[in-house]
């Protein structure tokens, strides 16, 4: 068994990295953007 002080197993690193990537993606998609209130009046 690996000692705890060696850090997470490689699989744990992959899962953690995937979670980070998904969290960053969610942050980007949910990030507020400039609010456009423009009503097209062409018709």
């Amino acid at each position: 068994m690996r000692p705890a002080s060696d850090g997470p197993a490689p699989f744990g690193v992959v899962v953690r990295a995937l979670l980070y990537a998904l969290a960053i993606t969610a942050l980007v998609l949910c990030a507020p953007t400039a609010e456009h209130v423009f009503i097209y009046q062409g018709f």
Binding site: A21, T25, H36, Q41
Partner: protein
Amino acid sequence: MRTSAPAARPITWALAALFLVFIDLGITRSRLLWGPTAFENTRNMTQIVFAQTYQAARKLYTTHRGPERRIAVLGNSRILLGAREPLLQPELDHLAPGLRAVNLGIFGAGIGDQEAVLRHLPRLAPSLVILTLGASDLQGTPASPLSGQPAEMLRIGWAGVDPEGAAERVDRWVRTLWALYGFREFARAALVDRVAPPPDPGPPPDHFPSTRALFDHIHGGSGAAVEAAYRAWRREPTLEAFIAYLEIGSPSYLDLVRQRASGPSVDEDSRGVRLLDAVLARLAAGPWRSLVVIMPENPLIELDTGNRYHRPGLSDDAAAIVRGLAARRGIPVVDARRWMPAEAFVDFDHLMTDLSGFQRPLAAEIVRASGV
């Protein structure tokens, strides 16, 4: 000895970056982002510019690079309605097979919005780019701004054209480098659409057999009343009768026209003219032929002797500036302002989709400019 915490280990972040690349590609190069959506067919005038900007972006990033020569047509509602692809493409096929029209028109798009669209054009790799614009597109008013939502959604590149703050500059740089960030507004709308699609009215019909069918499509339940007013104008073709017809179906459009009539003039120092010059510079620098088309104007406006619906001299001043700036860049200009009769128009600016027949002379100009 204790190693660094997992969150701080470089391998974790390197892997996260790798995963981000795959997630980015999985969203921005797939039907998840670019597949058909319900929101893009909205009839809601507060959402239609966003929806059409999304459609233009889809055409830029997903149009198949087949053996045809792609013809990119930039503009706003004037060209989107006047030469929709299902109308323009058959004319091109008839005159010169092998040309493919890609109409990138967006309702309300000003000349600053065209500058933003142009930054994405290398992705489409067109052989000919046609910039269509109306004389009043250089003016800029609250109802028809020079730069609006399309410029905001499509802003990429290392240098901007207008003065901007640090936050805007960084935002543009990140949009340039990171597709998911650049298309995040579209991705968000597309994902919501996949999960909970709104009611889908579907795309507009390809053809309209009559003005009544067109008015029913544009005005819904009041189509019959608009048609009656339009017929009254056809029987008595005065400016007053035309305004009465517009007041029934398009009162907000009349507000827009009145804003333009009392709006600023256009001269060499106008922001709209500076933006036009930036557009022409970008056109001239690209690996494509270019053509500027000044779009048809309703000749009925000449009856507006009280100048309530147009600014006198603006059209000629703007056309002269367009010709002068384009000549400096070696870009030909087609002045189509007098091409169409009053009955070809829905209002002072917009041609009757399909019924006007504008797609035919435009196709002839495209073939001429494409050199086939």
